[in-house]
């Protein structure tokens, strides 16, 4: 419906935005290789999930960078978040 509205009223900015945001998903090959070692992160999580239950943790390539009780506290301990997985482990 959003797409049809945008086609009928091409100068309507809000309809154009609706058509863009609500468009069916598009799937493509990723344009760049990711450098993060997600397999190492997964190994770490399987081994240590219970040790840090209920905490936010930051992982880079299978190495624990920080653990904290809140997201804000975690971010305060992580200088560079590129290729860093930040997640809250279930209690």
């Amino acid at each position: 419906m959003a797409t049809a509205g945008a086609a009928r009223y091409p100068d309507h900015a809000e309809l154009a935005k609706s058509a863009r945001v609500l468009a069916p998903p598009t799937v493509t090959r990723a344009s760049r290789p990711l450098t993060a070692d997600i397999r190492a992160n997964r190994v770490w999580l399987k081994a240590h999930r219970q040790d840090y239950a209920g905490q936010w943790i930051a992982l880079r390539n299978g190495h624990l960078l920080a653990a904290a009780p809140s997201f804000d506290a975690l971010v305060a301990h992580v200088d560079e978040t590129h290729d860093v997985l930040m997640t809250k482990l279930p209690a």
């Binding site: 809000e14 935005k17 609706s18 863009r20 945001v21 609500l22 468009a23 069916p24 998903p25 598009t26 799937v27 493509t28 090959r29 990723a30 344009s31 290789p33 990711l34 993060a36 997600i38 397999r39 992160n41 997964r42 999580l45 399987k46 999930r49 239950a53 209920g54 997201f71 804000d72 971010v75 978040t81 590129h82 290729d83 860093v84 997985l85 930040m86 997640t87 809250k88 482990l89 279930p90 209690a91």
Partner: protein
């Protein structure tokens, strides 16, 4: 590695492992939890075949520096797991990360809860809904070896 259809076409472009566990501490049914990249930020996400859109974590969402002008106008209210959640709808980039094969990028509709929803969000990761997010992704799961295969549902360049 990536499976093949009867015509020789690859079923998927990439494959990754996943964690098979309850998504939160108050649930008991295991779900598929993947590590994905959303707008350049690594996050854990649950494959939610009963859900809609990409649901982003409200606290991690603050790192995206999204502005309301990029969203559909106004705050939207969506009933989510029996609770009304306020947030905004954006177009975001989700990337499935491959252990083997190629990564796949999805431009998807995403619901980003308002920052003040964080206190109610708990330990729920991001969610990848079938409608509006995964609907154009071809995927398969091998539970025995915990592998998740993914690729575009249509041929892409």
């Amino acid at each position: 590695m990536t499976l093949a259809l009867s015509n020789g076409e690859s079923f998927a472009l990439g494959v990754t492992g996943y964690d098979y566990r309850p998504a939160t501490s108050y649930e008991t049914t295991p779900q598929l939890v993947l590590e994905v990249e959303i707008e350049g930020i690594l996050a854990e996400a649950v494959v939610d075949t009963g859900g809609v859109y990409l649901f982003y974590h409200p606290q991690i969402g603050r790192r995206l520096s999204l502005t309301p002008t990029e969203a559909l106008s106004g705050v939207q209210t969506i009933r989510f797991r029996g609770v009304l959640v306020h947030g905004r709808l954006y177009r975001l980039t989700l990337t499935f990360l491959a252990d083997e094969g190629e990564d796949v990028t999805i431009q998807t509709t995403a619901f980003v809860p308002e920052p003040d929803e964080a206190e109610h969000w708990g330990d729920l990761p991001c969610l990848l809904g079938l409608y509006g997010c995964l609907e154009r992704v071809r995927f398969a799961v091998d539970l025995r070896i915990e592998r998740f295969y993914f690729g575009p549902a249509e041929e892409v360049s």
